[in-house]
């Protein structure tokens, strides 16, 4: 197999991208290094995913890539070929995920700008570990910054989630 050049030297510096976005096959033509966060926010008007630091340090742009949390500001278009992306919009597509409900009930959000990222990160964690310890939650959210809540409300919400939704004390 020859090596594939994802852009041509003349005027095309673009990729023809096909990937699964929120359960639907999506086709786009974008520059090879165009960021996933820009695909979502600019090209597809999915503004639930936020943009804040652009260097992967804050988690506001978190999405699920093959079910795992990643910073969409650090994923380039050419890396998305045939992959599966889920955004915050998908998580609450039909109804609120119980962690979202818990966030509402425990004041785990104020301005709300970090919230989609927090929910995405927690969806990842709770997907493979429905009863995480405090330590595991702290570790898993260590890449999501929040400036409003001081994180205390978020921890309250996770504890509530565990109490109510997993029937553990």
């Amino acid at each position: 197999m020859e090596s594939v050049e994802y852009s041509k030297k003349t005027n095309e510096k673009e990729v023809e991208l096909t990937f699964d976005l929120n359960g639907e096959t999506t086709k786009l033509i974008v520059p090879a290094v165009y960021r996933l966060v820009d695909i979502l926010r600019k090209d597809l008007q999915l503004t639930g995913t936020k943009i804040s630091c652009e260097i992967g340090r804050c988690g506001a742009c978190s999405v699920l890539l093959t079910g795992q949390v990643v910073n969409s500001c650090l994923v380039m278009a050419y890396q998305l070929k045939n992959s599966k992306v889920e955004t915050i919009e998908y998580i609450s597509k039909n109804s609120l995920h119980p962690i979202q409900q818990a966030f509402l009930e425990e004041g785990a959000l104020q301005c709300g700008y970090c919230t989609p990222g927090m929910i995405v990160a927690l969806t990842d964690l709770l997907g493979y570990n429905a009863d995480p310890t405090d330590e595991e939650v702290l570790e898993h959210l260590s890449g999501n910054l929040c400036r409003c809540t001081g994180y205390t409300g978020i921890l309250r919400a996770v504890r509530r989630y565990k109490t109510i939704y997993t029937n553990k004390g």
Binding site: K50, S52, E89, G107, Q110, C111, G112, G143, L145, G153
Partner: protein, 760 residues
């Protein structure tokens, strides 16, 4: 009482804007796009201080996709902005004073093209010496940064001419200088928005601010158009903390939109936000504080130097606030406080949650702890001996609302388990506990325009609409309005429509700052509920031929008292049959001020106390805050989740201020350009167990309602942490953010003989 769900019943409720936030469906102003929209970028100064010899935009204009390139020549009105003194150029003409100063702006069909265009604008600078500290700016060889020189503002309060003399006679004196960092607001949503040109020469400005009407005024002045042509839509906002009150990208978006006749979007990258945005005032505070043999405070001598950066913004008010709060909740017979706010080329310092209170409280509470140490008495006892009484005058000798909050928070914090529990032990770690208290004035202070307003009406489609000129930036404003209105009218939340953040639709309520909005909302509702209810009941009584006295407002509509209460008429039906203008009530009032003409003096105060436990690593000198409790006295808790969130969130902001936040600058340039080097607290940096205790009581005759708690949660954090550090290892931290190196060196000096070179 502990602020938790069990104690607040229905008031602990899901916030009305919560659902959209948690699902990501809420559109923030930086999420907006419009058809035909262009992207704007601002060219910011390459130097912290320089003359501009020439600006050439020709090459940029030729770039494909560029629709407009503007400079100071394109400003039709006043080329200046600033909340009080408009001294900051929209576009610099002949001199740049900080690295965020704007020199030109571009609108293009994509962000990439706009960026590229910026690189094609050629500015010829003649660098000037950088005034990189207040000392330098005040030295004989300084360059004046403004026509009136390098002093922006002086403020002082002196209650006696004998202060130094009295201090000389004190058996117990502590003299030292404290330094605080250039903290960054760090809101997760950066500055940004869209300006859309509308018909008839109007523009709609979709951009965050904490005072829509003020933005409108400033923009009208810059654009030289009447305010009536400008509509500012300013909510929802992804965090502000005082950082988005001043104008930021709005003038550029507006000028470009008017020139291109297309919507123009600007959204700062984080690095642009760091470069151009305002910061907290770094302050150097010298204090000489003395007590007599009996343990009574005698004198307090304070000299404050604030680095205000390149432009005024709210520098003077911050200094005034710091001067006022330099004595805290204590009684000092002899006070001499002076402050000076100095222009430098170090960015711009301005409004930031706490507003000067954080800096002086750190210094003051440290002094108190150190005096207690000298006297060998417990510092809580020392405080109790010197605390103000409920009816004492305020810190500037002005009459203030009677308030026993200081005693209350001190006695609440004494009972905190943080102080009584045994800390967890770990190898190579030592622990300590400490407390601090503070007093914080709400509102803008005497002599400052501090007006407010509200409007309550019945809409055509049967909603009870309440409107305020405030903005929601996370603080829970909308939730508080909902709770207060539901309580006042007994209606359900579905009956209510809340309107904020749109200058075309709301009355002026003043700014959403200075811990004032909760109080202003409460006031507005108190004033409007009676006339509104009366009118509604009159109309219903008439329309349904029911005895007026039996009617009352309730859920979904008006009800009639009886053996079984009966539903009479829905709000919707009433709306269908009534003339809406008859059911519209508006009120204007002013934030309560002291009767004494003391400029800047506050009237309504809140109190808070903090207990902190720290763990210090003896190998690295690093400090971790393992527990923190809070006690707050700010009147009734209107919105428990909101109140709790402000205290908890404020605490972590204060923790960052103490432990590792600093926008490090050198020669007027930032070393900390993004979140990889400017360190915000992560979830692993916080104490995971915190309790908030509240005292909701108000004294008899206090008709002023609930106080705001938006700021106070940040204030007493630093000194509580440093007091705990002192207990752990005997070191006094006087400079923030603390230095692990300093602590490590001190620990190593203290360790056992024969082991001078290591803690092992």
């Amino acid at each position: 009482m502990e602020l938790k769900r069990e104690n607040f019943g229905d008031k602990w409720r899901v916030r009305p804007d919560g659902y959209d936030k948690v699902t990501g469906s809420l559109k923030y102003l930086t999420d907006y796009t419009f058809p035909n929209m262009l992207y704007g970028k601002v060219l910011r100064s390459s130097f912290p201080h320089a003359k501009i010899r020439s600006i050439s935009t020709y090459e940029a204009e030729q770039l494909d996709g560029v629709k407009a390139v503007i400079t100071y020549k394109d400003v039709p009105g006043m080329n200046r902005f600033g909340l009080i003194f408009p001294d900051q150029p929209v576009f610099c003409e002949d001199v740049v004073r900080y690295v965020g100063d704007a020199v030109a702006a571009v609108a293009a069909t994509s962000e990439e093209i706009a960026e590229k265009a910026l690189s094609l604008i050629h500015v010829d600078y003649e660098p000037l010496e950088v005034m990189d500290s207040p000392e330098k700016s005040l030295s004989s060889s300084s360059i004046p940064l403004h026509p009136a020189g390098n002093i922006l503002h002086r403020a002082s309060y002196k209650s006696s001419e004998q202060v130094l003399k009295e201090l000389q006679n004190c058996p117990y004196v502590v003299e030292d200088t404290y330094e605080t960092p250039r903290q960054m607001h760090g809101y997760m949503e950066t500055e940004g928005g869209v300006v859309v040109p509308e018909e008839g020469g109007k523009i709609t400005v979709y951009a965050a601010t904490q005072h829509g009407f003020k933005d409108r005024m400033q923009l009208a002045r810059i654009l030289s158009i009447p305010e009536s042509l400008i509509r500012v839509i300013s909510s929802p906002i992804g965090g502000s903390f005082g950082g988005k009150d001043e104008l930021n990208i709005q003038p550029y978006a507006a000028l470009l939109a008017i020139k291109t006749k297309q919507p123009v979007k600007l959204h700062n990258k984080r690095s642009e936000s760091v470069r151009a945005g305002i910061k907290r005032h770094p302050m150097k505070i010298k204090m000489i504080t003395g007590a007599n043999q009996e343990g009574k405070l005698v004198g307090h001598y304070v000299r404050i130097v604030a680095d205000t950066g390149a432009y005024a913004t709210l520098g003077p008010a911050v200094l005034d606030f710091a001067v006022e709060h330099a004595t805290g909740p204590y009684i000092f017979p002899h006070v001499d406080v002076e402050g000076v706010s100095v222009f430098t080329n170090n960015g711009i310092a301005g409004e930031y949650r706490g507003f000067g209170g954080n800096q002086v409280t750190f210094a003051l509470e440290s002094q108190i702890e150190r005096l207690a140490e000298q006297m060998e008495i417990d510092s809580i006892k020392f405080r109790e001996m010197n605390l103000r009484d409920a009816d004492d005058l305020g810190p500037l000798g002005q009459r203030i609302v009677k308030n026993d909050g200081a005693k209350s928070v001190l006695s609440m914090i004494k009972n905190s388990s943080v102080l009584t529990d045994s800390p967890k032990e770990h190898p190579h770690k030592i622990t300590g506990k400490g407390i601090a208290i503070t007093m914080h004035g709400g509102g803008l202070g005497f002599g400052r325009p501090d007006p407010s307003g509200a409007r309550l009406s019945l809409t055509n489609d049967g909603k009870i609409e309440i409107a305020f000129g405030f903005e929601e930036f996370g603080q829970g404003l909308i939730a508080s309005i909902e709770i207060m209105l539901m309580e006042a009218l007994n209606c359900s939340k579905e009956d209510i429509k809340i309107v904020i953040g749109d200058t075309d639709l709301v009355p002026s309520s003043g700014s959403a700052t200075a811990s004032r909005s909760t109080n202003m909302i409460w006031n507005g509702i108190q004033k409007l509920k009676a006339p509104f209810m009366e009118k509604v009941l009159d109309l219903v009584a008439d329309y349904t031929n029911t005895t007026r006295d039996l009617l009352y407002l309730g859920e979904k509509g008006i009800w009639r008292r009886g053996k079984r209460n009966q539903f009479v008429l829905s709000y919707r039906e009433l709306a269908n049959n009534a003339n809406p203008s008859h059911v519209t009530f508006q009120t204007h009032f002013h934030f309560p001020t002291t009767p004494d003409a003391v400029i800047g003096g506050h009237y309504l105060y809140s109190f808070a106390a903090v207990a902190a436990e720290v763990e210090i690593d003896q190998l690295t000198g690093k400090v971790k805050v393992t527990r923190m409790d809070h006690a707050v006295a700010a009147g009734p808790v209107v919105n428990p989740l909101g109140y709790l969130g402000q205290i908890e969130g404020g605490a972590v902001m204060g923790l960052g201020f103490t432990l590792f936040e600093d926008s490090v600058m050198e020669n007027g340039r930032y070393h900390t350009e993004n979140f990889d080097s400017y360190l915000l607290p992560t979830i692993k940096d916080i104490p995971t167990e915190t309790n908030v205790m509240v005292d909701e009581s108000l004294m008899e005759g206090d008709i002023f309602g609930p106080r705001g708690v938006g700021e106070i949660g940040t204030v007493a954090i630093a000194p509580a942490i440093t007091a705990a550090i002192h207990q752990a290892c005997g070191i006094w931290v006087k400079k923030l953010p603390l230095s692990s190196e300093e602590i490590l060196d001190a620990l190593m000096d203290l360790s056992s003989p024969g082991n001078e070179q290591g803690v092992y």
